[in-house]
Amino acid sequence: MAHAPGTSLRTDTHEHLSIEEVEAREKDRRARHQSHDRIAAVLYPVVTMVGVVVLWEVVVRAFAIPSFLAPPPSQVVATIIEHGNLVLKNTWVTTVEIMLGYLTSIVIGVPLAFGIFMWPSFSRTVLPLLISSQAIPKVAIAPLLLVWFGFGLLPKVLVAFLIAFFPIVISTAVGLASIEPEKIYLARSMGLGATATFFKIRLPNALPSIFAGLKISITLAVVGAVVGEFVGGEAGLGYMLMVANGSMDTPLLFAGLIALTIQGVVLYALVEWAERLAIPRRSTAATAALQSVTG
């Protein structure tokens, strides 16, 4: 079989080099590849975004689409600048609701999962209730919470909490339970006590699973807070969206959506950052797995 032209060319260029030189070349080539990948990881999405925005601007102007239907990006930017204070203030309100709801769901969800894992009878009592409670759409509970707790901060925090806490409970309980039995046998043969086994082996073993739940939950907490504001708010991005919608102020609607998006991405990144701090090893393995999926 004849060599493909590319292959034979590559061997030819290496023929006059020593093995060390080839090694150096390969190392260099790999470094160039990696830096190229890093640049591409930032550049590609940015270029795509810019392309979409430009296309949007051009289409809206070319077809003279009225701005209450689809405002051009330039107008959205102008609105954000004009109403900067309003957007920032409402973003802050929503952020506080999200964080309070999210932290509550961690503070209640993680110990609840510990209980479910440690006491089977507790698990048998609580788990069916928990699962059936998930069948109720939280959006449908929001009006009830409004009746009970008024228009203030609390009902929004509660909706965010109710939506966010279930994935945390389940992923924590699953993480604690899924461990090779040999790890526990080893701990016992070492004379490691129950508490030490939990903190040295079982909990670190569960961390990747716990963080998977935490990452799902932060996005859900955003949804919960906004839904709470939809139903009965007097401030916050959800409230701002309702007001903008009511007055057909579509540019402000878009400004709100952009603020929500940025907020969601930043909060998610914060959780990921916490994950990297907590499990430096695993997250690199997970990143490698992710890279192999995304190419």
């Binding site: 040999e182 790890k183 046998y185 080893l186 701990a187 043969s189 004379g191 490691l192 030490a196 090893r281």
Partner: protein
């Protein structure tokens, strides 16, 4: 834990090889294990009685499902027997033994700890002196050819390297007994040969009592003072074979007529029991 270690030191000399029948180091008496399953009770072990001498390398060989691993778990005090008992130096065991080192078929390393960190877990659990334990961990890693890999994480090591780390972890506290459950089962042939040699050397230097569970006839013959051949389920002791070969044993010795004779003897037994079929 400390009291167990003391007991071992004051052990009288007559437990040495000369008088095995009088007071074996570990003794299984009429040991049976029955598992309750959906298809009714399954007898995994049936009436196992045998004594292991101090310093003896004892292998248990048999087909899958003959209860070998169950026997090791009971010997470690990690599983209760359904009937009968295990005693160590005359004392019946009723709780997980901490005077052993255990090596499983999988290395069972903690992914978030380095090779050194995994070994040090044993030292931390036993509250050994940190500096001395760390020095010993470095020595052990060096002795199994892992010098320079101390700070690698398990996902940066090959399967054979990981199993060597798990062997080091089982040795750092100088346990009087080592329990190994098919430790080389998941490794390639060359790595197995190397580890078999390593284990022989470690056993010889550390003067330990080893209970070794295996599927491999040549490995059992190579390493053991005695090989117990088990019957298929329910696991009973079929035959106990004394391996009378000079030590230290070498790879070349595997070609000698004595060595192949032992192999043949065990294979014939497995053929006779229908564990192996030639036609």
């Amino acid at each position: 834990m400390a009291s167990v270690a003391k007991d071992i030191r004051v052990l009288p000399a007559e437990t040495a090889r000369s008088e095995p029948e009088e007071s074996p180091y570990v003794e299984f008496k009429e040991l049976s294990k029955i598992y309750a399953t959906d298809d009714g009770p399954v007898r995994a072990l049936d009436g196992i009685s045998i004594g292991q001498r101090k310093r003896e390398f004892l292998s248990i060989l048999g087909p899958s499902g003959c209860g070998k691993s169950t026997l090791l778990m009971i010997a470690a005090g990690l599983l209760p027997a359904s009937h009968g008992q295990v005693s160590v130096q005359g004392q019946r065991i009723g709780a997980p033994r901490t005077d052993v080192g255990i090596v499983f078929q999988n290395p069972v390393l903690l992914e978030w700890r380095t090779a050194l960190g995994n070994i040090m877990l044993q030292a931390e659990a036993r509250k050994l002196d940190r500096t001395a334990a760390e020095r010993r961990a470095y020595e052990l890693l060096d002795s199994v050819g892992l010098k320079g890999f101390e700070h690698k994480f398990p996902d940066q090591l090959s399967g054979g390297m990981r199993q060597r780390v798990s062997i080091c972890r089982a040795l750092i506290h100088n346990p009087p007994q080592l329990l190994m459950d098919e430790p080389f089962g998941a490794l390639d042939a060359l790595t197995r040969d190397q580890l078999v040699l390593d284990i022989q050397r470690i056993w010889n230097e550390a003067r330990m009592t080893v209970l070794f569970i295996t599927h491999s006839v040549p490995e059992a013959v190579f390493l053991s003072d005695r090989v117990i051949v088990m019957t298929p389920r329910p696991g009973r002791i079929d035959q106990v074979i004394d391996i009378d070969l000079p030590r230290p044993r070498t790879l070349a010795m595997r070609e000698t007529p004595e060595f192949t004779g032992y192999n043949r003897q065990i294979l014939d037994l497995l053929l006779a029991r229908g564990v192996l079929r030639e036609r």
